[in-house]
Every structure is written in C-alpha cells, then in structure tokens.
Subunit: 289 residues, 2 copies
Amino acid sequence: MEKLYPHTGNAYIIGITGAPGAGKSTLTDKLTRHLRRKGLTVGIIAVDPTSPFTGGAILGDRVRMSELTMDSGVFIRSMATRGYLGGLAQATGNAVKVLDASGKDVVLIETVGVGQDEVDIIRIADTVCLVLVPGLGDVIQSMKAGVMEIADIYAINKADRQGADQLFAEVTHRVSQDAQIREQLWEPPVLKTISTEDEGITALADALSRHRDHLKNTGGFSDKRRERIHKETLQMIHYELFRRIESHLAANGRFDNMVESIMNHEGNPYAIIRQVLDEYLHMPRKTRN
Amino acid sequence: MEKLYPHTGNAYIIGITGAPGAGKSTLTDKLTRHLRRKGLTVGIIAVDPTSPFTGGAILGDRVRMSELTMDSGVFIRSMATRGYLGGLAQATGNAVKVLDASGKDVVLIETVGVGQDEVDIIRIADTVCLVLVPGLGDVIQSMKAGVMEIADIYAINKADRQGADQLFAEVTHRVSQDAQIREQLWEPPVLKTISTEDEGITALADALSRHRDHLKNTGGFSDKRRERIHKETLQMIHYELFRRIESHLAANGRFDNMVESIMNHEGNPYAIIRQVLDEYLHMPRKTRN
C-alpha cells in the first residue's frame, strides 16, 4: 500500500448505495457500460452484506455483471469479509486505492446502505448516489436517514412501478427543504431511472459529471480528500495500535488470565484497562510542531 | 461504572431483535407485563436506529409502552446515540450493568437486528429471541443471516397474517437442520405469537425459562459471561486507547499538520503511522504470568 500510495488520487470515486432490492447492481452495471462507451476505465467494488459469523456473502447479484468481466477496461472486486471494528471500511479504502493506482478513471463502490459500517464506507466516495425504490415502505426509508444526509444525487429506480411519482415528489420536496435549511451550495438532483430498461442512465451520468465539476470549482475535491486522509490515517493508527496490543496481550494467555481474574471477582475490568494502558501507552511530550 | 461493577452479574439478560415493523416493542411490552405478574422486576433497554449525523432516534414506538413507566418495577431506557467504533454496544453494555446492579431480575434489550452494530449489541444477552413476521420478504430475511445464527428462540409474530404458516414451516425446518449440522445441545424453539392480542406470550416466557435452565445446567451462563467479559474488556481498551491517542494527536494541531503533509505529498500516511506507533506504543516484555 505504501508503494502504491503516490500513484493514488486520480480516480473519481462514486458511491452507489440503497436498500437491498433497490436495483443497485443493475444500475452499477448500466452506468459502467455508459462510462465505457465514453472511453473511461472503471473499477467496481461491490460490498456485500455479510454474516459476521460465517463470513459468507450474498453474491448472487454479481453473476449478472459477469459480462463486464470480459472487458479489460473493467475490474470488479467483491468485498465480503467483515473485520473487527471498522475493518471493512479500511479494506474497502485499500481496494479503492489499488484500483485508483492501477489507472482506473472511475471507481464505483456499490454497497447496501443500512448500518454505520456502510456509512463509513460510502464516505470514501467523492459523489454518493442513493438509490431509492417505491414500495419498500416507510420503515426502510426512514432507517436510511443517515445515508440520505450524505447523498449528492438521488435515483428513484424502478420508476415504472406504482408509487414512483409519489416517492419522487416526497424526495424532491425534502431535498429542496434540506438544501434551503442548510444553505447548501449543491442541491442534490432527484432522477428517475429504470435500470433494467437502461432508462435514465445518461441523465444519471450527466448529474455525476455536474457534481464532479461542482466539487472541482468549489474546492470540494480537496476538502473531501483532506477529510478522507484525516479519517483513514486516524483509523489506521487506531487499528494498528489495537492489533499490536491485542496480539501482545494474547501471548502467553495473559489476557485470558485477566479475564479469569474478573470472572473470579479478583479483578475488575476498569482497573485492568488502566493497567494495560499504563503499560502499553507512552504519551510523548506535546511539542509545538 | 467501576463502583457498580461488583453488584452486577445477577440479572438475566434477554435480547429481542428483528426487522423494523416486526412488532418487537409490543412483544417486549407484553412480555414485561407477564414477567411483572410473576413478581419479577424488569429493565428495558430500547436501542433505536439512529442517524449517525443528527443523532435523532425514531422513538415513536416507545410511546406505546408509556403505561409501563408508571410501574416502579420497570425501568425503560432508550439508547439513541451512536458513537464512533462500537460506542453504541459499549453504551448499551453500561446501561445493562446499571440496571443489573440496581437489582432488576430481568433486563430486556430490544434492538433492530440489521447491521454489525446490532449483532454486537445483542451478543450481550444470555438469551436472544429473534422476532420474524410474514410478508417482510426474502430480502430482509436473508439480511438477517447473521442474527439468525445467534438466535436461541424464534418468535413468528403477527401469526394471524397470511404466510405465517409457511414462514413457521421454513424456520422450523432450517432451525432443526442447523441444530443437526452443528450438533447443538439446544435446538431453538420456534413459536407463534400475536403480540397485539397477547397470544403466545406465556409460551415465549416458558421457552425463555427453559433456555435459562439449559444455560445453568450446561455451564452456558459461565461461558457467555466469560465471552462477554473478554469482548467488553478488549473493546474498552480499544475505545480508551483511541480516545487518548486522538486527543493527544489533536493537541496543538499536530495531527492536522500530518494530514497537510500528506495532502502536499511531503509525507505518506504509512510513514506517519509508523512514526506515531513508535512514539506512543511501548511493548512491555512478555512475562510468564
């Protein structure tokens, strides 16, 4: 990763998120074909919901994209493993960097937007497209409040279904209200798409271009890059620190002994935590640098 | 928390999870009334889906339980804040300990079981009841694969709805297959409930009692407690470690300078991470203890 790093920073990173069944895979597929026709190379990172117990991913959707895998201008990577505490966001960040460094013009991250993990993942993107569909119910829509707040473009997919017009009107209303309240420079466009029929894909690609231009013109790219570096670096420090301490504690069954002492009411976790931090953590003097 | 700690370990902790709209709140409500009639005191921790951006929770369901709040044998706490990296699981764990130490016989944790966060939360429980309902669709059910693997009891709620018999048959089939494959000592019972009509609540309470006896007789309580202590202690070390490093790095804008040096291509994050680890981490010699 360190050797790759100087070659990163050129790809345009697009996040595509939405509830399961919203048609993200087909939309990603069609958008990729569109970008390819424009002569752009594309990397796709598909983050699948995973069982934290078996590590098994639901990869059925990937099969549909198999045609794209014959195209040397497209690289598809499925992320299925879910590590401990933020590991998936970090792994996805690394995959983005590899595709970026390999020279892909666009990197698409496709993920199910439900939990905090997914929000962390999607924050890697320069532009986030939230895919909504009619009929999934208010409950699911409301769960996505967190994701709605980071969406730059809304695609109302399966727009030929009943309820699409109403959903379109509701989202448009909310988006314009939010944009006013927060005095946003960018009001997210709301588009109708029917990904299975290839409808609305050109409009989506245009909206992506416009958002990209907006980021360029307002310094947004730089701000996003800074935020990303801040977050990623902090996360890596954190992860690496913990990994080393955890493995050191596990050696010789030391941590098991600590747990046993708590079990036997000899120790308490808070005292043990203080002890561990005192031992492992050395705070350098604060410098003026 | 440290002063409370010696008073914890007596409550029976039940997790109630399932998709939004499965009727968990009503089930929790009815189960609580049942337990109260048996003379048991109950603590309820309701973990609501939250926006990571606004911190706003969807608390509408709580209103229905307001009658219970008049009962001094019941304490209800809504958890809405979502912290960074496992913060919600930790906060929930603390709330459980407070209710446990306060002498509640039973602590019910009610949570929407979708993401990794929720799985982490529900793992705090001694017994996990997964609430399923007909008609929510295969997509949502399959997302819950992770949660299904930790369920000790299944409640098919809204059992008067169309599709309930089929769902009951499917879950029963899968549960018995899983129990065989994994040679489980406990085969999770599958129950039908109609929480709004108070139907099946006694059977659910009986199943909970049986699982509790099972845990007692097989040493499961002790195993679960050990696993919980292991996980919680590591998580607290993790959290505290991060908190201290982050605030130390933030002082005097030191971390901001590091980020700027990466932005300007003077530094790279990997070299900076090594530098930070060298400075902050002190590995004690491995002892034989």
